[in-house]
């Protein structure tokens, strides 16, 4: 039975389409839902975890409909939201035991010990979680989620706000879960992490899927090559024959275009003309970032910051 299946899943907040016509089929994999803030990732997860009813369309988890059979869905999933919500006055063990009891698992204490061991928290299990680092708190939340052995695990931005080492560790745990047969549905806006760890990813932009596939197939779908230039200052986009300017992020410029021998030279010429100092310029293997920029467009070109939309999304999904 397919772990996660959606058909035309749609959610409106008033007249704002937060998620539109989402049709997915996910099973036995780490599936990454990528997209900028406010693109509808959290809204999607909330519908799949029975926290938010869809406006139209349907979703099934292990064959159970999220609206009509919500309790059966909740028996089979675990959900770790973005906010790191652990009781800091309780110990790690007490935090996990709470969930084991709420799930009603047999032998809750043993399951708690196993889940803590799995997440590498056994030696700190009896410390108050107020003394835990961000990465440890997130692993504790994973232990809470795993204590009832879910078929599908939903993680909303699991590495947000963590340092590099902690992120790496979280992803190692996620990958090992997948090897144990858990389907993992994860949202993130860190493209590099999704690139490394997800079996398949989907790009969400303004509520709609704009690209879906394995990271390697998506990267291969980019036509031509990518040229990166590291500069100081701001580049004013101008027509360079044969190349498309994909955007500036910090001091990095990205150009894409069909393979051409003089690509680098043309860019260098244009930058010199604008008097912009160039520190580094060269071809690069395409990344998921490039796929994103190509399919969604450069972030600056996405129009002015829509304050109303932003607030609406934050308020409604809270």
């Amino acid at each position: 039975m397919t772990a996660v299946e959606t058909e035309g899943l749609t959610r409106y907040y008033g007249d704002l389409g937060a998620v539109q016509d989402l049709t997915l089929s996910i099973d036995g994999e780490i599936f990454g839902l990528l997209g900028p803030n406010g693109s509808g990732k959290t809204t999607t997860v909330k519908m799949l975890t029975t926290l938010l009813p869809p406006s139209s369309g349907s979703a099934r988890i292990c064959g159970h409909d999220v609206t009509r059979e919500a309790p059966a869905v909740r028996e089979r999933i675990s959900y770790v939201p973005q906010e790191m919500a652990v009781d800091i006055k309780l110990t790690g063990r007490e935090n996990v035991l709470l969930f084991a009891r709420l799930y009603g698992v047999p032998a809750p204490r043993d399951r708690t010990d196993q889940a803590l061991a799995l997440m590498g928290l056994s030696d700190r299990a009896d410390d108050r979680t107020g003394t835990y680092s961000g990465g440890m708190r997130r692993r504790l939340e994973l232990a809470q989620a795993l204590v009832h052995e879910p078929a599908v695990l939903f993680l909303d931005e699991p590495t947000i706000g963590l340092d590099v080492a902690a992120r790496k560790r979280i992803w190692e745990h996620i990958t090992s879960l997948r090897h144990n047969g858990v389907t993992v549905f994860v949202t993130t806006h860190y493209m590099d992490e999704a690139d490394r760890s997800c079996d398949r990813v989907a790009f969400l932009d303004r509520g709609s899927v704009v690209a879906i596939g394995s990271p390697s197939s998506l990267k291969a779908s980019i036509p031509g090559e990518t040229i990166i230039a590291r500069i100081t200052g701001n580049y004013a986009p101008r027509e360079i024959p044969g190349l498309t300017f994909a955007g500036q992020r910090g001091d990095l410029l990205t150009f894409t275009g069909p393979p051409a021998e003089d690509g680098i030279a043309s860019i260098q010429r244009e930058l010199d003309l604008q008097g912009i100092p160039v520190h580094e310029i060269g071809r690069r293997e395409p990344s998921l970032d490039d796929v994103f920029l190509q399919t969604v467009g450069s972030q600056d070109a996405a129009g002015p910051f829509d304050d109303h939309r932003f607030r609406l999304i934050l308020r409604r999904r809270g």
Binding site: E83, E94, R101
Partner: protein
């Protein structure tokens, strides 16, 4: 029901570990007992401490209930509620666990206040009288913890809720029969005091102390608590869809 107790257990553990709050909630009722109960020169009774004790017990339950209203709101704001709502346990057990916790906490605090009152000279009741008193405290606590939780969920903002809390607690207390009998109240205050749910609870405890079984008080409080609980359940379901 089992899940309700698990949620209750979580809140009790968190409460026990927050030592400052356990003590600070007792200071005000103790101050009322000592500085008003023992010191106020009144002429309508020979033992003002005995008269005021039921009122202070109800005040204790009232303030812990109002304070507890924000607990579920905080669970919502901090992300706990979403985790709980995605669990297979019946969602209502979250709400019932919370109301049970707030009520139980109020009863425990009231017990400590009662011990202080007895230590400084309040008369002892019979076991039956105490049983009636605790029944009333429990009903009153359920009523106000459900009401406070409803308002907090509805306002959905801690500052607004704190303002609401400050706004209603003292007026409720002063317009009740906590500090003086109806006979010495000004005429305009009497009907207000008689309709105040605090007075209904306080009068019930006082009646029990004189050997009467306060059926009316218990009945009215049961109805009120039941009604407010239904409203609370409705608001809870509404904010969690």
């Amino acid at each position: 029901m089992k899940r309700v107790l698990v949620y209750l257990d979580r809140d009790l553990l968190r409460w026990k570990r927050g030592r400052v709050a356990v003590v600070s909630n007792l200071v005000m009722p103790a101050a009322w007992l000592i500085f008003v109960g023992l010191a106020l020169p009144v002429t309508f009774t020979g033992n003002y401490l005995d008269f005021i004790t039921p009122g202070i017990l109800i005040l204790t339950v009232l303030s812990t209930s109002l304070q507890g209203g924000s607990l579920l709101m905080f669970d919502k704001v901090l992300g706990f509620l979403n985790k709980f709502l995605a669990l297979p346990a019946p969602r209502e057990s979250i709400l019932f666990g919370k109301i049970l916790f707030i009520t139980l906490r109020g009863a425990i605090q009231a017990t400590i206040v009662l011990v202080i009152a007895v230590l400084i000279g309040a008369s002892l009741y019979s076991p039956t009288q105490y049983a009636i008193m605790y029944l009333i405290l429990f009903l009153f606590g359920s009523l106000f913890s459900a009401a406070a939780t409803t308002v907090a969920l509805f306002l959905d903002d801690h500052d607004s809720y704190a303002a609401f809390n400050t706004m209603i607690s003292m007026p409720l207390f002063f317009t009740s029969s906590a500090l003086m009998p109806y006979s010495v109240m000004p005429a305009w205050l009497r009907p207000i005091a008689a309709a105040n749910p605090l007075s209904i609870a306080i009068d019930g405890i006082r009646a029990a102390a004189t050997g009467v079984v306060p059926l009316a008080s218990v009945g009215i409080l049961t109805l009120l608590a039941g009604g407010v609980l239904l409203v609370c359940l409705h608001v809870f379901r509404h904010v969690t869809v």
